[in-house]
Symmetry: C2
Subunit: 161 residues, 2 copies
């Protein structure tokens, strides 16, 4: 079914082209999901899928929100993350450096690079994260990698395993 009999203007009308932001970084009809199914290696973080990707778009865009004092999993993987902060502030580890991050900052996580995001203690940290649809599973540090990271100044205090 199409809206218009002029084929030039036809497009699938079952799709709503605009999803409204309903405030507080929640979107109309977009479910707030668990960050991951289970684990104790992350804390107080949620996930929303803003754009799913598909046959015409090889990437997807997610919104993650970390509550004050919470953090993402310390992990690495072959695929890369392209991140933009859109709410609050916090810090992130990328490789062997801990960065302060705030609104509209851009973070690139290269391939096979340890990374972890953490909110400040007094406000949430919200960020969008762009990834390929087809991607490998993250890997967490083994005992040796964890010890190496813990031995580094700043990084050792920052990370949560």
């Amino acid at each position: 079914m199409t809206f218009n009999s002029q084929p030039d203007l036809a497009y699938p009308m079952t799709m709503n082209s605009v999803i409204q932001h309903i405030g507080g970084h929640r979107w109309n009809g977009v479910p707030v999901l668990n960050y991951k199914e289970e684990g104790t290696h992350f804390k107080a973080i949620s996930r929303q899928i803003l754009f799913e990707g598909g046959p015409k778009l090889a990437a997807e865009l997610r919104y993650f929100e970390i509550e004050p004092g919470g953090h993402s999993t310390l992990e690495r993987h072959d695929h890369i993350h392209s991140v933009m902060v859109i709410r609050g502030r916090g810090q992130c580890l990328v490789g062997t450096t801990v960065y302060d991050i705030t609104g509209n900052d851009l973070i690139s996580v290269p391939t096979m690079t340890w990374h972890q995001f953490r909110a400040t203690t007094d406000e949430p940290l919200g960020f969008i994260c762009l990834v390929n649809i087809e991607r490998d599973r993250p890997e967490r540090p083994d005992a040796d990698s964890a010890a190496n990271l813990q031995a580094l100044p700043v990084v050792g205090d920052f990370i949560r395993l």
Copy 2:
């Protein structure tokens, strides 16, 4: 060259992992580009490439900013656009509908669907736009398509050719 002799922590240190937002939707070292090389079918719009994509990311993320009263080109293409408003407000045509859009709203432009973005008259409209790296060239309406669009209520008044 790597920062650390522990191979597990090595990553290319030539890359700065964080690009700071320096205010006003400008980013450290990110050039403000022309929207397109030339044309009279758009008005008062700039482009910044926030994430370029590459071997590990099949999409790129751009930031477009339209000055008050300006607009993007009315066009369509096989590839899809996934858009999030991050500054100001305005309107967009997607298919045969004109939508009001404001901060954090999400807009999906399906394949081969006419679309055009316009800022309000009193503030800029800024949005990020996610696209595949590999994509076809946009097509502008020919005389028949333009006439079909101009004949539609609301749409006819909205579009700029």
